[in-house]
C-alpha cells in the first residue's frame, strides 16, 4: 500500500474530500436553512436575516400544522397508500416484467402497448369516469390499483430480468420447479438490487402523489398528508387570510412552508437507510452485470 504516501494520492484524496464535502454541504445546508426558517419568528424571516441559525426560536409553525384536525389521519393515509401501493406495484410489475423478459409470443406487441401508455393516455375525465364506473371512487384502491404499473420502471425491470443468467432458471426447471416457483424462489431472491431500487422509487412516488387523491377521493378523512399540507400552504399567505387569528409575530408564510417541508420529508428520509445498502451496488449497474 505504498501508493498512499505518494504526493499524487494525497492531492487526489484532499481534492476528493473537499469535493465530497461540497456535495454534502450542497445537500444538507438547504435543509438546515429550512429548519432555521421554520423555527424563526416572522420579523426575522421577513427581514431575511435567517441563515442557518434560527432567530427568535418558536414552534408556532409546527403547532399550526399539527393543529390541523386531519394531520394525523393524513399521515396514516399517506403511509397506508405508500405501503399498499408499493407492495401492489412491486407485485404487479414483477409478474408483468418477468414474462415479458422471456421470448414469449406477442412479447413485442405487449411491450409496445405498455410503452404506448407512457406517451398517450385516455385523459383525466375518461379516467375519472372509468374509476367511477369501476366503483373505486373514494376508496384506497382508486389510488393504488389503476396506477400500479409505471411503464418506465417496468422497462428497467424487464431489462434486468432479461440479463438474468438463463442457466440458473434452466437448472431450476430441470429440478422440477414451475415458472411461478422459479420466479419467486430463484429469480426474486437474486434480484434484491432491482427490488430495492424500485421500492425506493415507488415509495417516493406514492408519498409525493397528491393529485390522484385530490381527484379520486372525496372524504377529507381519506386524504393523504401531502394534500392536506398543500391546502394549508396554499392558504398560508397574508393575502387570503388563512393565517387569520394566529400569532403573526411568530408565524410567517416562510416559516410555515419550511415547517411543512420538514414535517413531510422526514418520514421519507427514514426509509432510505433500509434500501441504501442495496443502492450502493448501483441501480442499472446490476442490470447490466446480471
Amino acid at each position: 500500500m505504498h501508493y498512499r504516501k505518494t504526493l499524487e494520492f494525497r492531492v487526489f484524496s484532499t481534492i476528493n474530500f473537499l469535493f465530497m464535502a461540497l456535495v454534502v454541504c450542497g445537500v444538507t445546508l438547504p435543509f438546515l436553512h429550512l429548519l432555521a426558517v421554520s423555527l424563526s419568528d416572522s420579523a426575522a424571516n421577513t427581514s431575511g436575516k435567517v441563515r442557518f441559525l434560527p432567530i427568535g426560536v418558536n414552534m408556532e409553525a409546527y403547532k399550526f400544522i399539527f393543529q390541523h384536525p386531519s394531520i394525523l389521519s393524513g399521515f396514516k393515509n399517506a403511509i397506508v397508500q405508500t405501503v399498499v401501493g408499493t407492495l401492489i406495484s412491486l407485485f404487479m410489475m414483477t409478474i408483468c416484467a418477468y414474462p415479458l423478459s422471456k421470448p414469449i409470443k406477442g412479447r413485442k406487441v405487449m411491450i409496445w402497448l405498455v410503452m404506448l401508455t407512457m406517451f398517450f393516455n385516455g385523459g383525466l375525465v375518461p379516467t375519472y369516469m372509468l374509476i367511477k364506473g369501476l366503483g373505486l371512487l373514494d376508496t384506497l384502491w382508486a389510488i393504488v390499483l389503476p396506477f400500479s404499473i409505471a411503464p418506465y420502471f417496468l422497462m428497467i425491470m424487464i431489462n434486468f430480468f432479461q440479463s438474468f443468467p438463463e442457466n440458473i432458471e434452466e437448472s431450476a426447471l430441470m429440478d422440477g420447479l414451475n415458472p411461478i416457483q422459479i420466479l419467486f424462489m430463484i429469480v426474486l431472491p437474486l434480484s434484491k438490487t432491482i427490488i430495492a431500487a424500485m421500492s425506493l422509487f415507488l415509495v417516493v412516488m406514492y408519498w409525493n402523489n397528491w393529485f390522484n387523491s385530490l381527484i379520486y377521493l372525496n372524504s377529507p378523512d381519506k386524504y393523504p398528508i401531502m394534500l392536506i399540507v398543500r391546502n394549508i400552504l396554499d392558504g398560508a399567505n397574508l393575502v387570503n387570510g388563512a393565517l387569520t387569528g394566529t400569532n403573526l409575530e411568530k408565524l410567517s408564510t416562510a416559516s410555515l412552508q419550511s415547517a411543512a417541508i420538514m414535517a413531510t420529508t422526514l418520514p421519507i428520509f427514514c426509509t432510505i437507510p433500509f434500501v441504501q445498502k442495496h443502492f450502493t451496488k448501483g441501480v442499472l449497474l446490476g442490470a447490466v452485470k446480471g
Binding site: 390541523h68 375525465v125 366503483g135 384502491w141 415458472p179 391546502n231 393575502v239 387570510g241 387569520t244 387569528g245
Partner: protein, 521 residues
Amino acid sequence: MEKMSITRFGVWSRLTALSLLVAIPLAACGDSANKAGSADAAKEGGGPVTLTMLYSESGSPFNKDWPVYKELQARNNVKLDLQVVPESDYQSKAKIVLSSDKIPDLVTNINQSNVLELGGTGVLLPISDYMDKLPNLKKRIEEFKMEDELENWKSPDGKLYVLPFLTQSASYNRSPMIRTDLLEKYGLKAPTNTEELYAVLKKMKEMNPGSYPFTGTSADDLRSMWGAAWGIEPSYKGFVFNEQTGKYEYIYTSENYKKYVTYLNKLIKDGLADPELFTSNYDQMHQKLSTSKSMFYFFWNGEEISNINLLGKKNTGPEFKMAMLPPIAGPAGEKALAGTRIDRGTVIPASAANKPYFEDLLKFADYLYSDEGIDLLTWGIEGDTYVVKEDGKKEFTDKMKQSENLNKALWDIGSANGSFTLVWPFKWFATILGNEDFEKYTEEANKNNWFTPAAKVPKLSTDQKDEESLLIAGVNDYYAKMQEQFVYGKVSIDQEWDSYVKEIHAKGVDKLLDVYNSTLK
C-alpha cells in the same frame, strides 16, 4: 425444453391476469351497492332529504359539528352530503366532476369562465327559468341592483345558469398604501395624482438613497389596482366595449396605456420603482416594505395593513406606519377598480330537475338568500354569537368580540363560509374587518364615483369560445412580454410603439375584435 417453458409462462401469466381482473370489480360492486342502499333509505323515511354538494374547503377545516352547519340543515329539513375538496385545487376537481356523468346537486365556487363555458351545453340547470321558485334570490338581485352585473353571467341564450355569490356593495379593498410616518417626517402631503406621487417618491429616494420607494408583485396586479385611474381598467381580457361607437376596442394599444407604461418606465429609470416591481413574491415584498427598502405599493388592503404594520414596527422601528390612500388620480381621474360584486357562483346540474327532491333543493338554495339565512351564515346564531339591539342593529356577543380574531371565530362555528354564504352584506363585512379607513373610503368611493362599472363580457358561442382560446394566449404572451420591456426600458417606447401596435393586432387582436363585435349584432 425451451418451448415447454414458453407455453407454461403464457398460461400462468394469463391466469394471474384473469384472477386479478375478476377480483377488482367484485370488491367494487359490493361497495357501491352498499352506498346506494343507504342513500335510498334516507330518502324514503320521510325524514330529511339528502342533498349532495361539492364543497370548497377554505378558512377553517370542515367540521360537521359546526353549530351553524347543523342549524342550516335542521331549519331546512335537509341532510347535506358533502364532498370536501381543498380550496387549493378546487377548480380542477370541479371541472372534472362537472364533465362527468354524475354531478352533485350543488357545486359551489364556480368561476365566471367555467359557468359561461358550461352554460350552453345543457349540463347546468337554467336558474333563470325557476325564478318564481327562488323569490329571495329575486328580491336580493333587485335590492342590490345587480341586474347589470348579472348580465355578464348569462349565456348567449339569455339564461342564467348559476346561483351567484352576491357582495352587497363594491368596496375599497384594493388601494395605494404609503408610509405616512415618512410623509410626516419629510413634511410631504399625501399624493393624490401621478405628478404628486412622482415628487413624493423622488423625495423618499433622496432621503433613503438605497431604497426603491415603489414596489409591487406583478404587472397584472398593479394594472388591475391602478388601471382604472389610467382608463385601462376594467376590461375583458384587454377588450372594452365603447358605448359611443357601440364596438369593442383593444385597450392595451390605447393612448392611456401608452401613458401608463411611459410613467412606470420613468419611475424605473429614475430609480424610484423597484427593479422587481413585477416579479417579487409576497414575502419578498413584505421584506422590502418592513425594512424600509420600499415605502409605497398597491395592494389588497384588508388585513394587510395590520400585518405590515406589525412586521414594520419590528424590523424598522416603532414609528413605522403604513396607511391606505384615496386613489392616485391618473388621466382618467380619481378612479378605483371595484372588486366585482359577483365573483363566483353555485351551479346545479340540469339532471337535478328530474329528482324527486328537486323542490326541496330549490327551497334550500333560496333559503341561502333569505334574511334569516343571511343572518345565520354571516352573524351566526342569535343569542349565542350575536344579539339584535333595540334599534335593530346587530352586534357580536362578547364571546365573539373577545376572540383573538373575529373572522376566524366565525369560521370556527361554520359561519362566513366560503361555500354556503352566498350573500355578503357590507356593514357586516366592515364590522369584521374593523378598519375605519376601509369603511370611510368605501363610503367616499360610492359618493364620489370612484368605482368603475364592470366590463361588458361578450356572449360567445361554443365555436367562438374555441376561436378565442386559440388566439388569446398568443396575444396575452406578447402583451405581457412587451409591457415588461417597455416598463423596464429594454425597448424604447417612442421608437417601438407603432410596431408593437401593428404586431399585436396581427397576432390576433384584429380577429378577436371581429369575434367580439359579431356577438353584438
